[in-house]
């Protein structure tokens, strides 16, 4: 372990952002007048002063080695005075003042395998999570599906041919770290078998009342197994949320045979035009099929392309579906509508069709 002599600092907080702002931003901070998208992944912001700031945006795997970060730093040093930023969707942004450097930078990025794009009416990088690489509750991997899907959808990242922004997200379990619940298209890792109770371990490591309380559908009840306090799970009541496992390690829910993926559509966050919306279930289950998850990739690509072909300008996925209606969505995408699509949780009755307003 690296020893350090200096006295121990705590609660210093993050570095002050001003230290990291390039001069042109310091100068024009809050004085930007407008922006223009120049080409895929490249935009200019024009300040009241007339100054122009060129942003080049590139995709990354988000999971980065220090070696690659250094490589990115080299580019920032070479093209924009050692300043750069990352976006809320894990893209890297280079901040240029000299328009002549745009092309060389873009070429350099491409050469090194960083796709330029993800801006304006495009698919941007996927908000995603840890998966098998670091999380204990993961029903699937995250990075692998993202890689497989983005390989297929890259043309929509590097171009501007979509009717509107398309936000993709993935989460490897129902905790939904990230943005699955409000994304245009989201992939969600799911468990499909109730937790197996480890009666040996449970009494030792878990508070039984907490475990019972942790279940939203009251599927867990206290019981005694040969003398020892434990819990039992009423399987018909379990919908595999995994919350009991989060609370108690003795209730493992991960299961290779049954874990899989579901696909959700039509969520959005921005207030532009339509109010924010939750994502809704499109495909209840697809197999967990590493290393390239062909079923998941094909299903998402199909949805994206049906939307891209049919939506009007500015129509996000959810706005498009609202216009054509869910019956047409299922018809056009060829996705079967099943019992599992019908809500049966807290607000179920409000999700049923309470009018005659549907297309014949």
């Amino acid at each position: 372990m690296a020893e350090t002599t200096a006295e121990r600092k705590t609660d210093i907080g993050p570095p002050h952002y001003q230290r990291f702002l390039p001069p042109i931003i310091k100068k024009n901070y809050g004085q930007w007048r407008y922006h223009e998208i120049l080409k895929p992944g490249v935009m200019v912001h024009v300040a009241a002063s007339g100054d122009k700031l060129y942003t080049v945006r590139a995709g990354t795997p988000r999971l980065l080695s220090v070696q690659t970060i250094r490589e990115i730093c080299d580019l920032a040093d070479q093209y924009c005075g050692g300043y750069l930023r990352f976006t809320s969707r894990h893209n890297v942004e280079f901040l240029l003042t000299d328009p002549d450097k745009i092309e060389p930078l873009v070429a350099d990025l491409r050469a090194r395998g960083f796709p330029v794009g993800g801006m304006a009416n495009a698919i941007s990088s996927m908000v995603h999570t840890q998966g098998w690489i670091h999380c204990h509750t993961a029903a699937t991997d995250a990075s692998g599906i993202v890689k497989s899907l983005m390989d297929e959808l890259i043309e929509y990242f590097s171009s501007l041919k979509l009717p509107a922004k398309l936000r993709l997200a993935l989460a490897c379990c129902l905790n939904m770290c990230g943005a699955v619940h409000c994304s245009d298209v989201a992939i969600l890792g799911i468990h499909r078998r109730p937790p197996k109770v480890d009666h040996e371990r449970l009494p030792k490591v878990c508070e039984i009342p907490n475990v019972v309380a942790s279940c939203p559908t009251a599927a867990i009840r206290p019981t005694r197994i040969d003398g020892k306090e434990s819990v039992e799970i009423i399987e018909e009541k379990c919908m595999f949320c995994g919350n009991c496992y989060t609370v108690c390690p003795a209730l493992p829910i991960n299961n290779a045979l049954n874990d899989g993926l579901s696909i959700w559509v039509g969520g959005k966050v921005s207030n532009a035009r339509h109010e924010p919306m939750f994502s809704k279930l499109a495909v209840p289950y697809l197999p967990n099929n590493p290393p390239r998850w062909p079923e998941v990739v094909a299903a998402v690509k199909n949805i994206v392309e049906v939307w891209a072909a049919d939506a009007r300008k500015f129509e996000r996925m959810g706005e498009w579906i609202e216009r054509i209606g869910w019956p047409r969505f299922f018809q056009k995408t060829g996705i079967p509508f099943t019992k599992q699509h019908i809500d049966d949780y807290r607000h179920a009755d409000l999700t049923w069709k309470r009018s005659l307003h549907f297309t014949a």
Binding site: G13, E36, L63, L64, L95, R273
Partner: protein, 403 residues
């Protein structure tokens, strides 16, 4: 040591090295060249790809001295097979507001992490932290102290205030209705203790977006969402509008007809907005940044309760304060936030997010508790059910009312 340096066979993962999107597998291999932890993670991940299951034990509380958060403990469930990731704890490092960096600062982090950990990171985690992905318990203190030497500190994990984040805002956006970076930096410093030491029933997240486009998804992912907005008319530069029209925007179809409040008119020459009906959705401004901009009086709407579905179903933040001026030192905001944290901190159940807490006690009661008066802007519509709690009633003096 020689074949120790040998990378494990990873036929499955190798398939993810090809293709146009940058490969995380290449990243792991790159780090693995001179890092045993990364080598083992490579092998372990290949095993997960084969068996379709994670190989981590449940949780594990570890951390740095004096902090209750900032580190996610992880232990491999087959440590004998993969001794270098027997521990594989993650550090969450509080990012600088807006995710701006100098290469110097980033390189410093790289250097220390190469020495102390796997050499793998996430830029960034979904909450916004710099994720230093995996190291041994003994390395935590050293990593932490080098981080602080370099001006960085840990972010949040567990039942604390989580690392606040914000959009790029005034640094590079013409639409920022308040200084998101300054604000987020300010409250991050204000709440240092609560970010590092669990004192609440559950996690609590702040996210700030400079306008209703909400570029950090604050309304969906923050317990307290601060979203910029304005009052007063949208300034319209008619020449600018005509220019967009010339350059091929169909003002009627793409702008006017898409206005949710349908408060715009376009006669082919002039665009008029009946601002009293504008709901400030940003669309027309988004469509014509050169010609339109947010109105004169700037501030933010404060919304509360956003979160993912566990446990009662996902919640979108809902309006708490329709309009608040956002000027340093943000006294009004901090007083409100402190009050919220007090009430929820006191009465919230274990693992009950503030949004779930409000659902349980009722928004009306919650407003009373934090001292806000009910306003119609807080609701999509008034109640539809007649189950009203009338809080007091009269007792009759002896009378024959009931005779």
């Amino acid at each position: 040591m020689a074949d120790e340096k040998q990378l494990p066979k990873t036929p499955k993962l190798d398939e993810l090295e090809s293709g146009p999107w940058p490969s995380f597998v290449k990243e792991i291999k790159r780090a693995a060249e001179n890092n045993p932890m990364s080598r083992d993670i490579l092998g372990l991940l290949e095993l997960s790809y084969t068996e379709k299951i994670a190989h981590w034990k449940h949780g594990g509380i570890v951390g740095v001295r004096g902090y209750g958060g900032g580190v996610i403990g992880r232990y491999c469930d087959i440590p004998d097979k993969f001794p270098n990731v027997a521990h594989f704890h993650t550090l969450r490092v509080n990012h600088p507001a807006g995710w701006f960096y100098t290469t110097e600062a980033l390189r410093a982090v790289c250097d220390l992490w190469e020495r102390h950990g796997s050499g793998l990171t996430n830029l960034h985690g979904s909450t916004g932290d710099i994720i230093l992905l995996g190291t041994r318990t003994e390395e935590l203190e050293g990593t932490f102290s080098e981080l602080t030497q370099n001006g960085f500190d840990l972010g949040g994990s567990g039942s604390v205030i989580r690392t606040p984040s914000c959009c790029v805002g005034p640094a590079r956006c013409e639409w920022a209705c308040f200084d998101t970076l300054q604000f987020i930096y300010d409250i991050t410093m204000h709440y240092q203790d609560s970010i590092h030491r669990p004192a609440f029933p559950y996690k609590f997240k702040f996210k700030a977006s400079g306008c209703a486009n909400d570029c950090v998804a604050a309304i969906a992912r923050a317990d307290l969402s601060i979203i910029g907005t304005w009052r007063g008319p949208i300034p319209v530069d008619q020449a600018g509008v005509e220019e967009y029209a010339k350059n091929g925007i169909d003002i009627q179809a793409d702008v006017v007809d898409r206005c949710p409040s349908r408060c715009m008119r376009w006669d082919g020459k002039e665009l008029s907005i009946d601002d009293q009906w504008c709901v400030r959705c940003m669309h027309c401004i988004n469509a014509m940044p050169k010609a339109l901009r947010p109105g004169p009086e700037r501030g933010a709407t404060i919304l509360i309760g956003g979160k993912a579905p566990i446990l009662q179903g996902a919640i979108l933040s809902s309006v708490l304060v329709p309009f608040m001026k956002m000027e340093p030192p943000y006294t009004e905001f901090k007083a409100l936030a402190d009050k919220i944290l007090d009430v929820w901190g006191e009465e919230g159940k274990n693992r009950e997010r503030v949004g779930e807490f409000i659902q349980r006690v009722g928004l009306g009661n919650f407003l009373e508790a934090i001292g806000l008066t009910p306003r119609p802007e807080m609701v999509a519509h008034p109640r539809e059910n007649p189950y009203i709690f009338y809080e007091e009633y009269f007792e009759e003096e002896p009378t024959q009312a009931q005779a």
